[in-house]
Symmetry: C2
Subunit: 141 residues, 2 copies
């Protein structure tokens, strides 16, 4: 596969419920994640829901970042999709640390042009990488 | 797992290169996909790159849609992330049809709160569903 993009699917659990319900905090964290990745932010949109929850996306020159929070569950769903050779993982470290995630699930998907399509090969589970570990077990990159 | 969201990861191949390089077309298609899904659009951001390519995201009340196009490869990477019980799949049908994808890869990921985390169970490949089929083999929903 010729890789055009790397897409991190992040599930953050046991986050600080006040922090993830604060639009300004959530936007600041996502922008910091984009900065840590080395991305160039083109546009931003954030919204706070009633009674709770924040959603936002950053359009970057190298694809996008998105975040959705469920303060009632302490849960955050975030995505970091990069192309142009940028490594999205340092952005994950920022989000997990800043939003004080107790646990997380991290899944990386390669986006691009599979030569396998032409050959009719089915996509295998091995095409998707899933890792699980405790937040805080590593330091931010 | 208590499902909070459904996330479709779409890879569209052999798309019409002129269509996917046209910002107005790409935005119209993504908005149509959101409408077909039954989503409420809160905000939109789109950008056309030089010499080619379009990126955009729609923030919806039920999460987001995103799209990135590589006209030089006839390739489109799109995401449809919905919560609140919305089915994202009709949105995929719109994009594949309107952008005239010759082939596609469709992957659905469940986003949410895994009870398995507490029990220390690793995420299994079965947690990720991957399907591959020819575009045009089904009719829009």
């Amino acid at each position: 596969m010729k890789t055009l993009g790397r897409h991190l699917i992040l599930e953050l659990y046991d986050c600080d419920r006040a922090l993830i319900d604060d639009l300004a905090v959530v936007e600041r964290c996502l922008r910091k994640a984009a900065e840590r990745v080395g991305a160039t932010v083109m546009a931003a949109q954030f919204h706070r829901y009633c009674p709770q929850g924040v959603s936002g996306t950053l359009l970057i020159a190298e694809s996008h970042l998105s975040i959705h929070t469920w303060p009632e569950h302490g849960y955050v769903a975030a995505d970091i999709f990069t192309c142009g050779g940028l490594d999205p993982r340092p952005g994950f470290e920022v989000l997990a640390l800043e939003l004080r995630a107790g646990q997380h699930r991290l899944q990386e998907i390669v986006r691009g042009l599979p030569d396998e399509i032409a050959a009719g090969r089915s996509i295998l589970p091995a095409d998707v990488t899933v890792t699980l570990r405790e937040s805080g077990s590593g330091s931010p990159g």
